[in-house]
Point group: C2
Chain length 337, copies 2
């Protein structure tokens, strides 16, 4: 085991991303990645057979785990630990969702960066020999997130163009010691970065400084230049956050314009889907990783990717009390093998 620099870990024995699954709502199914998802909700309200949005989100997490297990040919009993989280208060979608799997659980919260946190801790656990297999799972649901953070949907309040659209989706990842074509060669754990921004309707701007900080830490710790990655892929900065990230990186004399992608931009067609700045939420980066990014690494089309889910650390209470919205971002180095 090798620890590099200040924030990163380079694994001597890389754990493998052995399988994954993505479960999404109808809007995501109609977007550019639609055909790549494993499961698209059949009912218009995205209820996944439940009678509340929170329960729907729980069902999504459970389904994503079940599908990831199924696709990898494994059973819940073979998974030693589960690393999981969501956006709701007290991580309730996770607690209710994964209960039935009966896998020892680490509950996590990193806002929309949680899929990065879960994959990092999961990979660290496998690489240390604590577990042969773990699952990392995260989710978000447009209905439960709007209810939690914003106005009742029925108010039909106008959304500014800087606002993002919470992805209804859950991605589950099986990380283990069994060889596959994707290995997690290292991780960079983010610090909280706070530029004092207070606009919860412009989360891209709130998170861009954290993404920049973690990317720079990764490049520093691993002694790499941006072009040593085929792509640097953030979680949900969207259009506004991306342009801020480019500016911040250029100030540090790093240009990532040509290799940067953002899951929040990839998941919707901004022109036709009325999603403004792009997709966001704990599910955004997770389902995009599972459906779009991993297959390209598996095939060897991409050799090395820096995947950086980004989170805006806020609650309705902190927002109402006038606090700023600091950001955090965790990076995962994914390599074809």
């Amino acid at each position: 085991m090798m620890t590099k620099g200040e924030q990163s870990i380079a694994f001597e024995q890389s754990p493998f991303l052995m399988g994954s699954a993505s479960v999404v709502g109808q809007k995501e199914g109609e977007g550019p990645l639609g055909k790549k998802f494993d499961y698209i909700c059949e009912d218009k309200e995205n209820m996944f057979g439940a009678d509340s949005w929170e329960a729907a989100e729980s069902n999504m997490q459970r389904l994503a785990c079940r599908l990831a297990l199924e696709k990898t040919g494994m059973h819940p009993e073979e998974i030693r630990y589960l690393f999981a989280g969501d956006l709701l208060r007290q991580g309730i979608a996770t607690s209710m969702g994964v209960e039935g799997l009966q896998i020892p659980l680490f509950g996590l919260f990193g806002a929309c960066s949680t899929s990065g946190e879960a994959l990092a801790l999961g990979a660290m656990t496998v690489a240390a020999g604590y577990a042969e297999n773990i699952i990392a799972v995260t989710s978000s649901h447009f209905g439960s997130a709007e209810k939690e953070f914003r106005f009742p949907l029925g108010y039909a309040s106008q959304r500014p163009l800087s606002a993002s659209w919470t992805v209804t989706g859950s991605g589950a990842f099986l990380v283990g010691t069994q060889k596959s074509h994707v290995r997690i060669s290292g991780v960079t754990i983010g610090k909280i970065v706070d530029y004092g921004l207070k606009d919860s309707q412009n989360m891209g701007a709130c998170m861009a400084p954290a993404a920049c900080d973690t990317i720079l830490a990764n490049l520093r710790d691993f002694g790499r230049e941006p072009e040593e990655y085929d792509h640097i892929i953030t979680g949900d900065l969207g259009y506004v956050g991306q342009s801020i990230l480019f500016d911040l990186m250029r100030k540090k004399r790093k240009n990532i314009d040509s290799i940067h992608l953002d899951c929040g931009k990839l998941i919707y067609d901004q022109q036709t889907q009325d999603t403004h700045a792009g997709g966001s939420g704990c599910g955004c980066a997770a389902v995009t990783l599972s459906s779009y990014i991993l297959p390209k690494i598996e095939k060897g089309e991409w050799k090395r990717i820096l995947f950086i889910p980004t989170g805006a650390l806020m609650s309705t209470v902190s927002y109402n009390e006038g606090e700023s919205v600091p950001g955090i971002a965790h990076a995962i180095v994914l390599e074809h093998c």
Copy 2:
């Protein structure tokens, strides 16, 4: 590194609990452990110099970390990772509290079991060689928790005798490779255990089955009998939860009556402090561990302790939607050395 059984990890090279600090409110300062805490808030409202309960809780976390660093003679730059959490929605006390330390952060949620989760992940990280030093910190605040979960304090609603009193407190723990007199020799990660109870005013009953499950898993995985521990110490089962735990353990032919302690019972004087079932909250187990349990292990008065913070996985939304309150508990094996 050795993984034992299904849920536990026995460390080949045990990390050490190098130092800790406890920060509490006035009521805790007036309780049986009063003189043992590092810092007792001086103002009656437990505001810690802030103007909201949430900000007060953030200040407590920051202060606990600073004191733990000071007592151990270390600087924030020497701490590689921070594992932290609280009870509030989206872990906002943590995000706002530890921001200034600028230590790469893993945000956690396990309800009142979070101090166990943080210590487990922190110990795993150090034992794997990923970090020389980490800090695990958790907090709860009576004011912010009542605001989050219950009725406005001004309503003066009656509390049933099974209800617990949220501890205003934060405990921070410095875990690392440098030898001290307390080592973390192993951990047992809990599963979610749900007996279908729905009474959020009786969390002891909701959590007791999870505590029982994790204790049994620990005994099974390590091949131990209860008496091989000087004490088995749960987080915040209180009087009601303790008697249920005893019953459940007896059904499994394990008697822990004479060696069991509960932080929720230790922290207040039930007779004079009107705390009903006992103390609870993310801070309860943490400050009791720091102020009362660790000094006894350091001195060698206790040789081996099983420490099990217990959590009730609920949110106001899940409660209002009629969901049950499942429990979770994570166990840490602490040994004198």
